[in-house]
Amino acid sequence: MNDVAHKITGAGQPDGIVACWSCNGPIAADALFCNTCWAVQPPRPMDHFARLGLDIRFAIDTAELDRRYFARQRQLHPDRFATRTPRERAISQNQAVCLNEAYEALKDPLSRATYLLKLRGIDTNPDGCNTIKDPTLLMEQMELREGLAAADTREAATQMLREAEAHVNQSLAHIGGAFAAGDLDTAGRETTRLKYLVKLVDEARTRRACFAPAAAAPAQS
């Protein structure tokens, strides 16, 4: 198989050879299309990174992620199979579902970090996820939320939103550094912190929306 074809078919877990459902001939287990009859193949189990042809790492180029996702959707989206047989339409839908799942999991840095840790056997979402065990984190989050609750103008809420966003960016930098250094403990702790910070950004946005800017005031009549 030449290099280009190999890249297209992805680098999942090559379980060897399987039979194409359409022409019954041999194909690579992770092939998207049969190279004899070109029938679309059902999605095989593989991790989200492999699904989109990316290396398993936290620091991904989001433009590259988009490019790969779009390129695969161009090949596999149900719109490409609208006039084909019901079976091919169903397979393409399953492929598109897997691509969307992978894209959604990797696009957002928080879910990407969570997923990476899960791949490494670390669960950042143990049950009773509303309890914070780390006292430093608990103090920090309580202070930030008190600050937000005290914001009683649009300007003050905007200020809190910017502050929360700055914390998020700083946390992302920490997570990136920890993953790069292979320090999964720090990555795990910081990912838990990021979860609360992302929630804080949401709450700050909601809070700010309570104080509508001038444009939303009823027009003169």
Binding site: G16, I17, A19, C20, S22, C23, N24, G25, P26, I27, L32, F33, C34, T36, C37, W38, A39, V40, D66, F70, Q73, R74, Q75, H77, P78, D79, R80, F81, A82, T83, R84, T85, P86, R87, E88, S92, Q93, A96, V97, N100, E101, Y103, E104, R205, A209, A212, A215, A216, P218, A219, S221
Partner: protein, 621 residues
Amino acid sequence: MNLLQIHEPGETPLPHEGERGLAVGIDLGTTNSVVAIAADQKAEVLRDEGGTSLIPSLVAYLDGGEVAVGEAARRVLLDRPEAVVGSIKRLMGRGAGDLKALAGALPYEIGPPAEGGMVRLKVGGRVLSPVEISADILRAVKARAETALARKVDRAVITVPAYFDDAARTATRDAARLAGLEVLRLVNEPTAAALAYGLDSAAEGLYAVYDLGGGTFDFSLLRLEKGVFQVLATGGDAALGGDDFDHAIADRFLKERGGPVDSTGAKLALVVARLAKECLSGQDEWIGTLTIGERASRHALDIRVLETLIDPLADRTIEICRHVLEDAGVEPAELGGVVLVGGSTRVPMVRRKVAGFFGREPLANIDPDEVVAVGAALQAEALTHGSDTLLLDVTPLSLGLETMGGLVEKIIERNTPIPVAKAQEFTTYQDGQSAMMIHVVQGEREMVDQCRSLARFELRGIPPMVAGAARIRVSFAVDADGLLTVSAAEQTTGIESRIEVKPSYGLSEDEMARMLRESIEHARDDMERRLLTEAQVEAERAASAVRSALAVDGDLLQSAERAAIEAVLTRVDAAVAGLDRDAIIAVAEELEEITKPFAERRMDRGIRSALAGRHVDEVNT
């Protein structure tokens, strides 16, 4: 004919493609419907002999079973308002409780509901569901297209408001089926408009679509990049549109006039209100007469009063825009442009408010009444002839389940890219509980009664276990049309229950079957034709796969074996050209049987060469 055609994998058009009817794009609107067709990425709106593109979405049910649609129905409206029905799109997938009254009277006369709970109307002495009435509009649209193109039209991309829920989408698909149209795809109206704009101007970057139609408001945020149309977020109100402007004006007229109002009076007041509104898009004052029965009343409206009446509605649309942008974390200044869609964007105040909020003049260089049909036609061409463009849409509303205490557990969040499939596990709350009610809802609120109920079904036969021991996995799948399928299975025993969500206000399978039987032109047609086409494409797929295999691995066969396979292939071709479904299926099975040894030899060779390859690698390392 081309000697050599090169296609992307999986995209080779099936041989029968050329013989099929044409595929059009249809904007099935609340007030007007429009049909268009595209060739080579150029869309053309189909017009009547007079050059008019808009088909009023009005249907008149006349004596002797005659049905008139569009202008013909409008001509009857003033003389026989009780025989004419309009704005039927607002009732798609709705129950009687959802209807909007005007001065205490509904502009519709309500009949007994359908079995599935969907509202039915009394019109011209008949009792009809919104699905049947929409099907009559679609029949007229189809006829318009067939006249304009002088060809059979049997497939369509039909647009729906992005904010349409599952019930309304299903109702739209059912209406098309009744009208004898195969729905290639339901496409969201703002997405279709973006497609028309994007292909027209090769735009890139972030774009917003503000779509205020007759009955619905949609706002979508999209990213356009090299032929990809990626919807990032969408919001709207499925019951906010130009009709509500008309309601506000009609309400004022009826108050000025006083006296009791019945459904015919309400209907006539709406007609006069619309007329006044349309006049005020071009002039400052309107004076006219409202005649209901024997009594006529004079009314005047100027632009200032109109704007006071509709101001809260326009503000509500801007609020929705703000929320969508905030949700997506996008500032108005980051947008490359704002596209106006829908007839109601002709109202000057609406344009002013949009321009004010986004800080720029919105784009309206493609006719806002036609742009959605143009996009639908482009997508119909893309689906049937292949294309390089890609539409990636999202779910407009969260989908979830009722859990203990009337709370909603969301399974799929709004703005998730479709198609999507997600599952979650639930458990029993009583010892020995043998059944579980699955109640599927759509909406953003936390309590079930504030969300729209989509369906209820029961998973039975759960073996007796202590509370909390059963593992019931509920799976939600939304396809590329935005239609939902829900299934539930008990994990420890494998007992399963699956439904395609039949909306709480939908039609039952029986009702649908009866309507299909009753619609004369498709009495036998629909189901049989569908099954025949499926058998044909499946047999063609199998034959083409065998031919590809022969070209690659033909050396594995003795010449007698090859001749035998080719003889069967010839018979597959002959059967596919005919209309006998059983014959097609029989010869396709024969092909499967006779190629089995061939497939085994191909697999052997594949595995042997793979092993050899691995061996070589091992030697190298």
